[in-house]
């Protein structure tokens, strides 16, 4: 008998003719209540030691230029809006335009600039789904400084709102602050393998 058949048989005999389980009680909050999602997200991100800046749509290029002032080489997804980069003075490497950046090229970039799919206020989380202005997963992983643009209309209140808004068929990366570890005496230390700096620019 093959392993699959045998395991499924074992499960069926272990369960016997047990009664069907009662329906799952879902009395938890399906939609989080949140008076000011922008303020809450800002506060939560700061707790993770991410830096948050606010700006209006017309100030985005200038704000990004300031955030990226010390980064000589910037990796971006192929479809990053050109107007985001009008203030940036360094060298720009577009992933997938014309060819995907190699791992060495990604490692060579000091920063990466992307948008996001949604952001969760309650937990201070940014979710990337490889959609517009986000690129593939490796892009936001290898460079040491991640700058992420979040439009305030992309902010949802809680985790259930986020799960409902996302498509599991896309590769999803949930980011809550810079890379960190709690492995030494259970105290959180920022900065291990992922980007050690996370800057979030919130655009009204």
């Amino acid at each position: 008998m093959d392993a699959r058949t045998e395991i499924l048989d074992r499960i069926r005999s272990a369960l016997g003719n047990g009664a069907a389980p009662p329906p799952v009680p879902r009395d938890y909050l399906r939609t989080a209540e949140c008076a000011d999602p922008v303020e809450l997200l800002t506060e939560r991100l700061a707790d993770y030691r991410a830096t948050v800046r606010h700006c209006g749509p017309g100030e985005l290029a200038a704000t990004l230029a300031a955030v990226l002032a010390d980064d000589p080489r910037l990796a971006v997804p192929y479809d990053l809006p050109g107007e985001w980069l009008t203030g940036y003075r360094g060298e720009v490497a577009r992933d997938g335009d014309p060819a995907p950046l190699t791992v060495a090229e990604l490692d060579d970039a000091s920063a990466v600039l992307t948008g996001c799919a949604i952001a969760i206020a309650t937990t201070g989380t940014i979710v990337l789904d490889a959609g517009p202005a986000q690129g593939r997963r490796a892009l936001t992983l290898v460079p040491d400084h991640h700058v992420c643009v979040v439009r305030t209309d992309q902010i949802v209140a809680g985790v259930p709102d986020a799960v409902a808004a996302l498509d599991p068929r896309r590769p999803l990366t949930w980011i809550s602050g810079p890379s960190a570890t709690s492995d030494i005496e259970l105290n959180r230390v920022e900065g291990v393998h992922g980007p050690r700096r996370l800057d979030v620019v919130l655009v009204r």
């Binding site: 395991i7 879902r26 602050g177 291990v192 393998h193 992922g194």
Partner: protein, 478 residues
């Protein structure tokens, strides 16, 4: 043959005695478990619907177990349709053989690993090593344990038994290329690990992971982590092999809304862990293009057959129960002899191996119930402990036992009032000279076989007068 990662060399009481003599270990554990339990308490208090989430989490897991054949085949179909290849393994040996074969087919002899309890449980690193394949642990704590040639002592923080200066010493002695002047500042230690692993991540061809959740409807796997080593392994290599216990399923993607709230707050005491990756099969041009999933039984179906014990399969490996357990805090993870230590280990391990291989573990608890209070999926660990204790005792029925003989004698004495009074009176008279001699009402050392009792505690002497005698005497005049 390497040792079974679920069975210790010594029974719990002996291993616990050995660990209790390590003072530094106890200090490290006390400090770490108290830090994390305070953080967890703060984060949980912030969630107004925490109890409702726990109830839902528990019910979802019960539902998964009840519909496991249907959900497993649905998961297999969805993952396969998305480009993953699904393999099934009845036990640890079969799972290791599958992974070894898959790694060999890629032509590489080195893999990077994301921290995974399932691969610990099946002894994958040892199996790969025997096949000439080097498995490099990339989680910081796993790396520390691997470098130290030690075994993990905690589900979430396998190196919890080391403090910062001990970690610095391990790095300096055993991690190639480490600066001899490395300090014990946690930031410097994290930086040293980053440098050591960076090249290896960027050049790795094959990664091995576990999964926190597997979504039946969509074939999606989910890994929660902190450092980014998980993302490195899940994203950069060409081949990804994920080893997943069959109980890790959730029915739908929407069910993650419950567990993504319960798990981070319960485990690291954070609102959300820094990184969570979710992937469904293969995505063209993004991440590994050769994706495998190995579904592992290894004792889970046997656990499922026990109606009381099966709730241990609800576990989402947060380790909150370890951090609040008064026994774990003192003896540490190694005393349990299993990759699953602490309260959940004491109920999960004996069921995965069969109680005969781990008879002492269900007794490794004071039944105080703190573990149940913090469990995000409401596993009634004390209930299962008592249930397994009964099994451990039942298993030995028919064998002579000093405890049972003593209990039988006590039953005979106590089942008749007069007999009991008489025996007590005899005992009181017999011990009176001893009490007078010692000038206290306890004996510190009794002769064998009662020495087994006094090795750990004093034995009380019978009271000078029983309550009944006192009652009778004090009412005489009235």
């Amino acid at each position: 043959m390497t040792r079974n990662p679920l069975v210790g060399e010594l029974p719990f009481p002996e291993a616990a005695r050995r660990e209790l003599s390590r003072e530094q270990l106890r200090r490290n554990l006390r400090s770490a478990t108290h830090t994390i339990r305070d953080k967890r308490a703060r984060m949980v208090a912030e969630v107004p619907d925490w109890e409702e989430l726990r109830v839902a989490g528990s019910a979802i897991k019960a539902d998964v177990l009840a519909r496991l054949p249907e959900l497993l085949t649905r998961f297999e179909a969805a993952a396969t349709a998305a480009g993953a290849r699904v393999h099934w393994a009845r036990d640890a040996a079969e799972a290791c053989a599958i992974v070894t074969r898959l790694v060999r087919e890629t032509g590489t002899d080195e893999v990077v690993k994301v921290k995974s309890m399932a691969t610990q449980e099946i002894g994958l690193n040892e199996a790969l090593e025997a096949a000439g394949i080097t498995a490099l642990e990339t989680d910081l704590a796993e790396l520390i344990v691997q470098l130290a040639d030690d075994t993990p002592s905690h589900i979430l923080v396998p190196a919890i038994h080391y403090n910062r200066s001990e970690i610095r010493d391990i790095f300096r002695e055993r991690m190639a290329g480490t600066d001899p002047d490395l300090t014990d500042d946690p930031r410097a230690l994290a930086e040293a690990a980053r440098r050591y692993l960076r090249e290896r991540f960027l050049s790795a061809k094959v990664a091995v992971s576990g999964a926190n959740f597997a979504v039946a409807d969509t074939g999606t796997l989910v890994v929660l982590e902190s450092e980014g080593n998980g993302r490195m392994c899940l994203t950069l290599p060409e081949t990804l092999i994920s080893v997943v216990g069959i109980e890790k399923l959730v029915p739908t993607f929407a069910d993650l809304e419950v567990f993504l709230q319960l798990l981070p707050r319960s485990s690291t005491g954070e609102r959300m862990n820094p990184y969570t990756s979710m992937w469904t099969g293969v995505t063209s041009g993004d991440g590994p293009q050769d994706v495998h999933i190995v579904l592992v039984d290894n004792g889970r179906t046997a656990t499922l057959a026990d109606e009381v014990g099966r709730q241990a399969l609800h576990c989402i490996r947060c380790s909150a129960c370890l951090n609040v357990c008064p026994v774990y805090e003192r003896v540490g993870g190694h005393a349990y002899g299993s990759v699953y230590p602490g309260p959940i280990g004491a109920v999960l391990t004996p069921q995965l191996t069969g109680v005969a291989a781990n008879r002492s573990l269900p007794f490794a608890s004071t039944l105080c119930g703190a573990c149940f209070d913090v469990c995000p999926v409401r596993i009634d660990i004390p209930q299962v402990l008592v249930h397994l204790r009964q099994q451990a005792v039942d298993e030995r029925r028919g064998h002579p036992s000093a405890e049972r003989t003593a209990m039988r004698a006590a039953t005979w004495i106590m089942s008749a009032g007069r007999r009991y009074t008489r025996v007590l009176r005899i005992a009181r008279r017999a011990t009176r000279p001893l009490a007078a001699l010692l000038r206290r009402r306890t004996v510190r050392r009794l002769p064998w076989p009662l020495s087994a009792w006094t090795a750990e505690r004093d034995a009380p002497l019978p009271a000078g007068e029983s309550f009944r005698d006192w009652w009778a005497r004090s009412r005489e005049g009235s």
